[in-house]
């Protein structure tokens, strides 16, 4: 028996010695030589920004490997990046950009106006899968009078033009096979993309600007939030870009080894009505539904103490934000009054098309119980993302639906009566159109504020809450972006002690 025990102990000890040295996995080097390990749930599909690469491309490559003429900062401001200067004609139809001098691509080619032209054309091309494609419909022509000058001629004024340009990655026009390789101008080059696992970036020594503060960045991709959390706890990663499991936060919240950052998000959870069909064509009914829902309780039950209430489509990082949360207050008695005024004193019932993935099913159950209190019966119809796209978005065959809308500055969709939710208000359409043609940002802001107020008064949709953007990091790393607007994650300022 003793011999057996000794044998067992030896085997266990040997296993521990063999495995102990390589457990964990983060490199010990700190400072300039550090490798920053980042955990993310958004692996790119491929590496192309215009060829269906998805959100993961923006997160890993935007600002890190690729740069635009402009950059959207983590605070939501638009700043010049590869554009040295801009000149706008008096009628607002001609934009002349001068490119920064001395910029080269990772392949060694110098940045020229032809690269800018071809990069923008890749976004607007027929086979482009860029979500930003339609925002460049206003471009009439792009000219390149010399190597460092690009001239855009627009068919109408577009005050968002430079903002929209911040989404365009400038790629070498000689580059081929952008789905698996890159040729950008950013502070990192792509080292290796191991599909299903990691994407690593290495500091580029010939970068035109300030060099990255770390030597290497590795994005580790997870398909489930629990594995990602485990990796942070066991030291395999340093940062989680976007925490999606609020239940797991408590293990990091009260622990000095980690920092939980509550950043600004642009993702809105919406109860979208089909404003074309009864009874939701009646604004009183929409307002009644809005007032019957205790959003604070909902947000708390889904996200704990995180996230924020909003009263319109506009998140605080958009320039035209105002606090409109009280326009449709939580007030079940008011809801009943409104329903009676609309002729539905005894309530009504409707079908809520609910995407099958989190958090929609839980939100749907909550709405069902809240609305039952004012006499409205909700029938939950669970559908896949794919069905949602066909049934709701394309065929408009729905009464109401839940959906998340992730983009910033997307209140303008209420100016499109053909959009899936069918909100149709001539004033709003005019304000949205005028705002895009505004001469100054003040004017634009003024008009879009009027849009916010009007859609809130009309309860065009129910804006349930703004998601939190939670970055969790080991406490020995600093300098990471906490807002991650438009899914970007600039890694060049991250420092590990």
């Amino acid at each position: 028996m003793k011999r057996q025990l000794a044998l067992a102990a030896t085997i266990t000890a040997a296993a521990l010695v063999l495995t102990g040295c390589s457990a964990g996995g983060t490199d010990d080097a700190g400072g300039e030589d550090a490798t920053i390990n980042i955990g993310s749930l958004y692996e790119p599909q491929n590496l192309s920004n215009t060829g269906g690469g998805g959100q993961g491309v923006t997160e890993a490559l935007s600002g890190n490997v690729y740069e635009g003429l402009y950059k959207l900062t983590d605070d939501g401001d638009v700043e010049p990046l590869l554009a040295e200067s801009e000149e706008v004609s008096d009628d607002g139809l001609t934009y002349t950009f001068t490119l920064r001098d001395g910029v080269t691509f990772h392949s060694g080619d110098p940045l020229t106006s032809a690269d800018v032209k071809s990069s923008v054309e890749a976004v607007t091309a027929e086979d482009s899968q860029s979500a930003r494609k339609s925002s460049f419909d206003v471009i009439e022509s792009i000219e390149t009078p010399d190597e460092s000058t690009v001239v855009f001629t627009l068919s109408q004024r577009s005050i968002s033009f430079t903002y929209n340009l911040s989404y365009v990655s400038i790629v070498n026009d000689e580059a081929t096979d952008l789905k698996t390789s890159e040729d950008g101008t950013g502070p990192y080059t792509l080292d290796e993309w191991k599909r299903g696992s990691t994407l690593s970036l290495t500091r580029w020594d010939d970068y035109w600007g300030d060099p990255a503060k770390n030597a290497e960045v590795v994005f580790h991709y997870y398909t489930d939030a629990t594995s990602q959390n485990n990796a942070l706890i066991s030291g395999q990663i340093d940062i989680i870009t976007s925490m999606q499991s609020p239940d797991a936060l408590s293990q990091f919240d009260d622990n000095d080894d980690y920092v939980v950052n509550d950043g600004a998000s642009t993702t809105k959870e919406l109860l979208a009505f089909n404003d074309r069909v009864a009874p939701f064509d009646d604004r009183l009914v929409r307002k009644a539904v809005y007032s019957a829902i205790d959003r604070e309780k909902l947000l708390n039950s889904i996200w704990g103490g995180y996230g924020q209430l909003i009263g319109s489509m506009v998140p605080p990082t958009d320039p035209w934000y105002e606090d409109l949360t009280d326009v449709n207050p939580y007030d079940p008695d008011l809801a009943k009054d409104l329903l009676a005024q609309a002729g539905y004193a005894d309530g009504f019932s409707f079908t809520l098309d609910t995407p099958s993935y989190d958090p929609h099913p839980a939100v749907a159950e909550f709405l069902k119980s809240e609305l039952a209190k004012v006499g409205i019966t909700v029938e939950i119809n669970t559908i896949t993302a794919d069905e949602w796209y066909t049934k709701v978005f394309q065929d408009r065959d729905f009464e109401a639906t839940l959906q998340e809308h992730v983009n910033d500055r997307d209140v303008v969709w209420y100016g499109n009566p053909d959009f899936y939710w069918g909100y149709d208000n001539a004033d709003v359409q005019k304000w949205v159109a005028d705002a895009e043609q505004a001469k100054t940002t003040d004017e634009q802001t003024e008009l879009l504020k009027k849009v916010n107020e009007k859609i809130a008064e009309d309860a065009a949709s129910v804006w349930l809450y703004l998601y939190p953007q939670i970055v969790v990091a080991a406490s020995d790393v600093t300098g990471y972006p906490i807002n991650g607007l438009n899914s970007q994650f600039y890694a060049y300022d991250i420092v590990k002690e």
């Binding site: 269906g52 191991k194 066909t390 809308h405």
Partner: protein
């Protein structure tokens, strides 16, 4: 034997053809259009039509199948709808994780099952026999991912001696590191797999132990261990080999599940992603490759059984 081989091979090919049809048709029964995956929420009708043309979902089903089956015959798994990248190289890369995981887990599971099964049989009227049988029962009842989660909690989060998941960036360049990443997944699958196998080994061993030829061998002066080694093993292994074929296939399926628990870049994780995204070429590619694996294992198990047991060769092929 040769005519048996030919017939068995024909059956293999036929099974593969049937599997191709089933895989194709079942996927098309899913609701929604795969083209949707290519589109964003502000797509125009023209973009939607272009996406459908791109993935071919606007063409008749028969035509889609003919195109696809033609590709399969040329060992061309096509290109992913979502990423636009070819499927075959990715499947091959993922097999570098899934195949070693499956085979090592199978080998470990088999070793555990042989020890535990023989132990449970020999000690069937002793306390340890009962205990081993009890553990086997328990192992059959618990789901593989749950065992994985428990092991992660113990060895990665509490003790910190093994990584919680992931696979080295340089693959097998440093085999020690790669094996370390696979240690917990291998143990997880082996535990669950060995549980069901232990019962078969135990039953087969009990059969052998109670047999006349073993008694004869022992009467001839052999010890129990010698008798088992010389005569029991070969006789006992025939039913076990058939089960092994099935178990190896099941192990592959277990690997598919466990890869997601341990974030391993194998076929299983690729399959889950592909299903979530309606990426037909990827789903089909993985299913075809894993179906082929299962059929080949079955084929090999049949042949192995006949090699071990001459009686099967005679009765089935009929040429005495």
């Amino acid at each position: 034997m040769p005519s048996y081989l030919i017939r068995r091979f024909a059956f293999l090919v036929l099974s593969l053809v049937v599997a191709l049809v089933v895989i194709f048709v079942l996927l098309r029964l899913l609701p929604g259009d795969p083209a949707n995956a290519l589109l964003s929420v502000n797509a125009t009708p023209e973009q939607i039509a272009a996406a459908r043309a791109q993935v071919g979902s606007d063409r008749p089903l028969a035509e889609q199948f003919a195109t696809w089956a033609g590709q399969m015959l040329r060992f061309d798994l096509g290109e992913s709808y979502i990423s636009g990248l070819p499927v075959l190289p990715e499947v091959t890369a993922r097999l570098q994780v899934t195949l070693p995981l499956t085979l090592l887990a199978f080998a470990l599971g088999l070793a555990i099952a042989l020890l535990a099964g023989v132990g449970a049989a020999v000690g069937s009227d002793r306390w340890y026999g009962t205990l081993l049988s009890g553990f086997a029962q328990l192992g059959i009842a618990i789901p593989v991912f749950w065992v994985g989660i428990i092991l992660v909690w113990i060895f990665a989060l509490s003790l910190g001696v093994l990584p919680a998941g992931g696979f080295p960036r340089d693959d097998w360049e440093n085999p020690g590191e790669a094996l370390t990443s696979l240690a917990l997944p291998i143990i997880t699958i082996a535990i669950v797999m060995s549980a069901s196998l232990t019962r078969y080994v135990r039953a087969a061993t009990l059969d052998v132990v109670g047999s006349g030829y073993l008694r004869t061998a022992r009467a001839g002066g052999a010890s129990m261990a010698q008798a088992l080694w010389r005569h029991g093993l070969r006789n006992g292994s025939v039913p076990v080999i058939a089960i092994l074929g099935i178990e190896l296939s099941t192990t592959l399926l277990g690997a598919v599940v466990i890869e997601s628990v341990f974030t391993l870049p194998g076929l299983g994780n690729m399959l889950l992603d592909a299903i979530a995204q309606h990426d037909y070429p990827n789903i089909q590619g993985i299913l075809v490759v894993s179906t082929l694996f299962v059929l080949l294992v079955g084929f090999a198990a049949d042949i192995a059984q006949r090699l071990v047991d001459p009686r099967l060769r005679q009765t089935v092929s009929g040429n005495r």
